[in-house]
Symmetry: C2
Subunit: 338 residues, 2 copies
Amino acid sequence: MKYVTIKDVAKKLNVSISSVSRAFNDKYDIKKETKELILITAKEMGYHPNPIAQKLSQKKSFNIGVIVPEFINEYYSEIIIGIQKVLIENGYQVLVMQSDESPNQELANVMTLTQNMVDGLIIAPTLEGENMEFYLELCQKGHAIVFMGRIDESLPASKVIFNNFKWSFFATEHLISQGYTKIHHLSGYYKSNVSKERIKGFRKALEKHKIPKENFRVIETGFFAKEGIKVIDDLINSNDLPEAFFCENDLVALGVIKKLRDSGIKVPDDIAVIGFTETIMAKLMCPQLSSVKQPTYEMGENSAKLLLKILKDENSQPETIIFDGELNIRESSINKRK
Amino acid sequence: MKYVTIKDVAKKLNVSISSVSRAFNDKYDIKKETKELILITAKEMGYHPNPIAQKLSQKKSFNIGVIVPEFINEYYSEIIIGIQKVLIENGYQVLVMQSDESPNQELANVMTLTQNMVDGLIIAPTLEGENMEFYLELCQKGHAIVFMGRIDESLPASKVIFNNFKWSFFATEHLISQGYTKIHHLSGYYKSNVSKERIKGFRKALEKHKIPKENFRVIETGFFAKEGIKVIDDLINSNDLPEAFFCENDLVALGVIKKLRDSGIKVPDDIAVIGFTETIMAKLMCPQLSSVKQPTYEMGENSAKLLLKILKDENSQPETIIFDGELNIRESSINKRK
DNA sequence: TTGTAAGCGTTATCAT
DNA sequence: ATGATAACGCTTACAA
């Protein structure tokens, strides 16, 4: 591939390459007519500034690295779309890497990206606590980083997180309002702050409504349908089914509902179920699934904006944006007997 | 951010920068001991070759652009993962952009990426026929491009496609084998080659089994659950329901099943349904959905490999890889009365 | 307002 | 086997 360079344009117009450069960069003085002439001629010749040369010259890559645990589910996909929109508008390229839910892969991704001179990073870690010393070091070295989601509060960096406590509280309170008093919470991983917050919200709601302790349980389940199925299987065997399940996410809820149905137990007639981190499936399932919707797109946009702020002002202080959600009540958690 | 450069390493060891460069590039003569010394010292100092400088020097970006219609659904996500694996292993970075199902956005994405000097492109177009002259031009200019999925056969370029005809045929034949003779095919967009191939396969199966013409219909539906719902709504109103539906994809099938259920019609007891381009939902739905699985990951891997081949040998001839799928029969298409 | 030239961090060609 | 140096395409002091 042969590209037209700044020299070609300069030669054609008998001007210096600096003038051509200036024509493409607003910040310098240049006569209006020359600028226009250059711009027009450049366009005719099919010239575009070579971003790689710009990067080398400016010691900036105009690349932003985005690292997510996965993008098979729409959650991170939507976040990425929000990020991309903001960053592309601001002249950045977005390099997306996925860690396959592995902290090691995550670390490798960070390495690859920093070695490729990304100007900044948006990292959605797979697990809080992992790689934390490394991230601390990165931050102290002055890397521009925004963390997202599953991240330790203690890390002195900008963060975009979801108010898991609050919306876990609301989800639980909703189940209580439907008259359910025996409720199990199928949690993600206890290690994770997200899960801890959800558990806190769950407990808080039960306490507020004075549900006796023996009426609720928290079960470490995981993120996938398969794991939801397994838990139900165990509970059926031990004859320990509650009146309602508050699940880690829609996928787990889906597994729960499937297993219950296969066992002849109807949702919500016999047992109510509510999900979290709403997916497109929620509305299409049978029964339609109640869930907590997170503003994924906005979360992506805002993490990008936060990063741009850091990029513009190196001395900007770490900032944390906490997002609220939306409780969407559907069939799966409605108490028909009430 | 302060990076260690080749100069720093050279100075420290009192060697020339060429030697350091050579130590990092196998293709040159350099004494084994000096090489090792340089490599060790470089590592100690935290030196990595600056990829941007390498790119400028070599007039290669080592970036590959990947453009997909969307990555909200797992289909393209999985393809991307396959692509990334192969390309990253080969020292390339992958820039992913999504066109939001818009040919205009797709064009803008191609522009952005070519202007950013990507060495090659993998393009999954949103709609065949759109932007075709432009792609033709790109190919003729010598850009390394692999097309994927919804692409005109006529384009003289490397392609990775799925055998829609064949698997549409098998899906239809399966419905026939279940004893259904009144079958409707809810197609994507008639414009699209993919849909055309699916329709051909559908017709071929019906012809083979001598189903009378008045027993089958093709209805242009679209890609989303909403559109499936609308079609069923219309068919119920016009009292024109068939015995079985062969849907464009799982999402449409989901809409179909939902609407039928809401109307008191049971699947598969009253009407059978089969999807296409299997998603994770298929196994989790109620009833479990029969569908045709596409080898997404492998398709991604192979498109990347195809691109690498072009990159290595400029004169390599266009090649087309056609992938086969897998017909997964589940509850939704089983005729219980048979 | 414009031009000159140094510099960004490499690779690659030519000497030595 | 090693070093000097031009070149890659651009930005940006500085000079004119």
